[in-house]
């Protein structure tokens, strides 16, 4: 017999915490399932126990998470940390794994709030020890109070990269260089969104302040052809800027080209997704409440499309309000009244995003690697191999699995899917949306065979498997 809840929230980041708080407040039996040992997701990672005593280092936006977590703890929603969610189906049966045992939870409604992950940034040598994502560096800073001992190179573009640079400055960390890859051409795309950003966005003030903090950081603009070099570990970063190739000795390179929604669970569940040409990512198709194409399954937060942490909390709230309506706890009229502040706050938090999306759109060279550059970290397949497969007739990512095993490793395509799609689309002269993505199925995170073996079985299953 499966445990039953009214609402299962998957992910304890801002969207999940805000959703669970609203839902529990409305009397829904709510459980939050999260992989991490403490709430906060990645953006508010370690908010309860960060070893960083000086609050100024991480900055005010981070500490905003304290209020969210406190409200969550006071809400009465259950929290299951250290819990991997490995499957979700249209009937809202959720496969979880905790302490080495897998089981199912049946939910009346489910909110997928699994957030985002770093966009893959495949450069030659990116698999070398000494190359990490900017997000990884922030996790080390927040959760362990760790900063690089020797001068670090940051490369890429986007607000999170500049935030990390500012945090490092505040912590006294030496930055050897900030290699900014945003092409000058991005301004042409961003220009028409500037009024909304400049006049109405909460990000303008923060952005300007950040830029001010980065004065003094050695910075290169228009960086291209980035390479991580070294024998068995990173020794040096080389790049082209102003037509000239440069090289910086370093043992730590932090890469960042924005974040993209984590879609493995929503795809595996069977939700419909759309390609977002501005953010260059897939996102689940949702209505204004976050309801997906599957009845009773919502997607909230950056997992539904990148709008940032504050928008994530509001989207979590909206999804919870509608889930409560769907479960008959409140009617639509009451829902609309209760949700109005969140709706308004979401609108405000969304302003200016299109400007940022356009300004920090990653350059093509960073999404379309060449030659021996590894594109699938798990199976170690290269860009050249992908192009070879297309040349002998492979039309898309799912056929490509048959040729190169890309997407068949433990990360389930999280690190290679976007690159594979972009490479195939370019090679075939097709729009990325029409090339499509990997067909994903559970388990979206690994569970052991023994765990799988212990799950409930049926007589029909026995007949289908055990044959005379």
């Amino acid at each position: 017999m499966n445990e039953t809840v009214d609402l299962a929230v998957i992910g304890a980041g801002p969207a999940g915490l805000a959703a669970a708080t609203v839902a529990a407040g409305l009397g829904l039996a709510t459980v939050v399932l999260d992989e991490q040992p403490a709430p906060g997701g990645q953006i508010y990672r370690a908010i309860g126990d960060t070893p960083l005593r000086e609050r100024a280092i991480l900055g005010a936006d981070y500490w905003r998470g304290e209020e969210l977590v406190a409200a969550f703890h006071a809400s009465g929603a259950r929290h299951l940390p250290g819990t991997t969610v490995w499957s979700l189906d249209a009937a809202r049966e959720i496969g979880i794994s905790r302490d080495g045992a897998a089981r199912f939870i049946q939910a009346g409604a489910a909110i997928v709030a699994t957030g985002a992950l770093e966009r893959p940034f495949p450069i030659p040598g990116w698999t070398l020890p000494g190359v990490m994502t900017a997000g990884a560096a922030q996790i080390l800073l927040k959760a362990s109070g760790l900063v690089p001992e020797r001068p670090v190179v940051l490369a890429g573009c986007g607000p999170l990269l500049y935030l990390l640079a500012a945090q490092y400055r505040r912590a006294g960390t030496r930055i050897a260089a900030l290699l900014d890859t945003a092409p000058a051409a991005n301004w042409h795309r961003a220009w028409r969104h500037l009024p909304e950003f400049a006049l109405a966005s909460p990000y303008l003030r923060k952005g300007l302040a950040l830029i001010g903090e980065l004065r003094g950081v050695p910075r290169r603009r228009g960086v291209e052809a980035l390479r991580a070099e070294g024998d068995g570990r990173l020794a040096r970063v080389s790049f082209r800027a102003g037509g000239v190739r440069h090289s910086i000795d370093t043992d730590l390179l932090l890469l960042h080209h924005g974040v993209i929604p984590q879609v493995n669970l929503s795809f595996a569940a069977g939700c419909a997704h759309d390609w977002d040409a501005a953010q260059l990512c897939w996102r689940p198709r949702i209505d204004e409440w976050g309801a997906s194409s599957l009845d009773g399954i919502y997607v909230a937060g950056d997992g539904a499309g990148i709008l940032g942490a504050e928008a994530a909390a509001e989207r979590g709230r909206l999804a919870a309000f509608d889930a409560a309506r769907r479960l008959g706890r409140i009617d639509a009229g009451r829902r609309n009244v209760l949700a109005a502040p969140a709706r308004h706050a979401l609108e405000r938090a969304s302003r200016g995003r299109r400007f940022l999306d356009a300004l920090y759109r990653p350059p093509d060279w960073a999404r379309l690697p060449e030659g021996d550059t590894v594109i699938c970290r798990c199976e170690e397949a290269t860009a050249a191999q992908v192009l070879e497969a297309v040349a002998i007739g492979c039309p898309g990512p799912n056929q490509l699995k048959a040729f190169l095993r890309c997407g068949m490793g433990p990360c389930q395509g999280r690190q290679c899917g976007p690159t594979v799609q972009a490479l195939i689309a370019r090679a075939r002269g097709l729009p990325e949306a029409s090339v499509g993505y990997y067909r994903l199925r559970p388990p979206v995170k690994p569970i052991t065979l023994a765990e799988l073996a212990a799950l409930p079985k049926t007589p029909e299953a026995a007949r289908a498997v055990v044959r005379g």
């Binding site: 002998i392 007739g393 898309g396 990512p397 388990p443 690994p446 052991t448 065979l449 073996a453 029909e460």
Partner: protein, 371 residues
């Protein structure tokens, strides 16, 4: 589009093996295929090259299977020479394991009945009790009661086989045409004109190898293909250092180190979703057979649709109303790849299936040979 000698309709394991076999004999071949998302039974193949247990009810199938297994090394050698790709074939012998005395008794009786069929091709197999089995497979679990070992069973890498066949076809100048779904086939003076979603092409002969799609195509050339989907689910683990050299009928460690676990037989229409009860049942049997498998992480599951005929045996037929049109379908595309490439293709090129193929015709279903 230049004229082709033969158009092969369907680029999975059956079609690409036949197409390669034809190209080897000098034919100008066009291999048509659908797009990235299609039924594609060939993507869901377990990878066995299996002889034991084939042919209960049709001895000719056992003979055809053994012939394919005996030719598989030759197929692999050719493909490796032409493409550098190793299809991963090994024939170390394979096992069926039984988890109770009752299972074992039933299996022994079944094998005896199989080999007592008239015209059954002889090949060796051994019934192993638990002690004998444990000497060959030290890692078996305490519940394994015994099993059958057949020294000519083996396995291969189905995805690398497909890739090698496609690579060899390209190297030999065959035309591979993906996203050319077939909409019609008409007879012409020169043979056939095939109407596809991307235009027409002509060929003197056509071979229908479209798996489940054959049901729709067959009537276009006066044939029938009583095929239906039968779902099979598979569990795949993370890579592990080699510990299992022999394939079992439901467990094999691939050459890359991942362990594949099957298999179910479900009548589920065209639904390729996986379901936890079946995955759990397969996982449990696998762990009972080899307890140490329990610690491996499951990284992937999938379901594929076997192309199943009413009796489970292949259909090979040629059209009487449309001379030069052939059809080939089976659900063991890996096992039979060598036979298709080396022993069936020449007959197709010659324009005539000999009487030895009569058992594989549709007459056995009470279906008339000519529409």
């Amino acid at each position: 589009m230049r004229g082709h000698d033969i158009a092969v309709l369907g680029g999975g394991l059956v079609g690409s093996a036949i197409a390669w076999g034809l190209t080897r004999l000098g034919a100008r071949v066009a291999l048509l295929d659908e797009g990235d998302v299609a039924f594609r039974a060939s993507r869901g193949n377990f990878g066995l090259v299996w002889v034991q247990s084939k042919g209960q009810g049709m001895a000719a199938y056992a003979g055809w299977t053994k012939r394919s297994s005996d030719s598989w090394a030759e197929l692999q050698d050719h493909l490796r020479a032409e493409t550098g790709i190793d299809a991963g074939f090994a024939r170390p012998g394979g096992f069926s394991l039984c988890l109770s005395e009752a299972e074992l008794d039933a299996r022994i009786a079944w094998m005896r009945r199989l080999h007592n069929q008239p015209d059954m091709v002889p090949y060796p197999y051994e019934v192993l009790d638990r002690p004998a089995l444990a000497r060959m497979l030290p890692a078996i679990g305490p519940e394994v009661a015994g099993g059958i070992f057949c020294p000519i069973d083996g396995h291969a890498n189905p995805l690398r086989l497909l890739r090698a066949l496609h690579g060899a076809l390209k190297a030999r100048g065959a035309d591979y045409l993906p996203e050319h779904a077939v909409e019609g086939i008409v007879r012409t003076v020169a043979g056939f004109e095939i109407d596809t979603t991307k235009g027409k092409l002509g060929a003197q002969q056509v071979v229908l190898t479209a798996g489940l799609g054959n049901a729709r195509l067959a009537p276009m050339v006066g044939l029938t293909a009583p095929v239906r989907p039968q779902r099979g689910q598979i569990v795949v683990t993370e890579r592990a250092a080699r510990f299992l050299d022999h394939p079992m009928v439901t467990i094999r460690q691939t050459d890359e180190g991942s362990v594949m676990i099957g298999d179910s037989q479900e009548e589920a229409g065209f639904d390729t979703q996986v379901g936890a009860p079946i995955l759990a049942t397969m996982a449990e049997r696998a762990v009972r057979m080899f307890p140490r498998l329990g610690q491996l992480g499951v990284v992937r599951t999938w379901a594929a649709l076997r192309v199943m005929t009413p009796d489970g045996f292949p259909i090979y037929q040629q059209s009487i109303s449309h001379p030069g049109a052939f059809l080939a379908t089976c659900h063991s595309g890996v096992t039979l790849a060598a036979a298709h490439a080396l022993h069936l293709a020449p007959h197709i090129l010659g324009g005539h299936l000999p009487t030895s193929f009569a058992p594989f015709g549709p007459a056995r279903f009470g279906v008339p040979a000519a529409a």
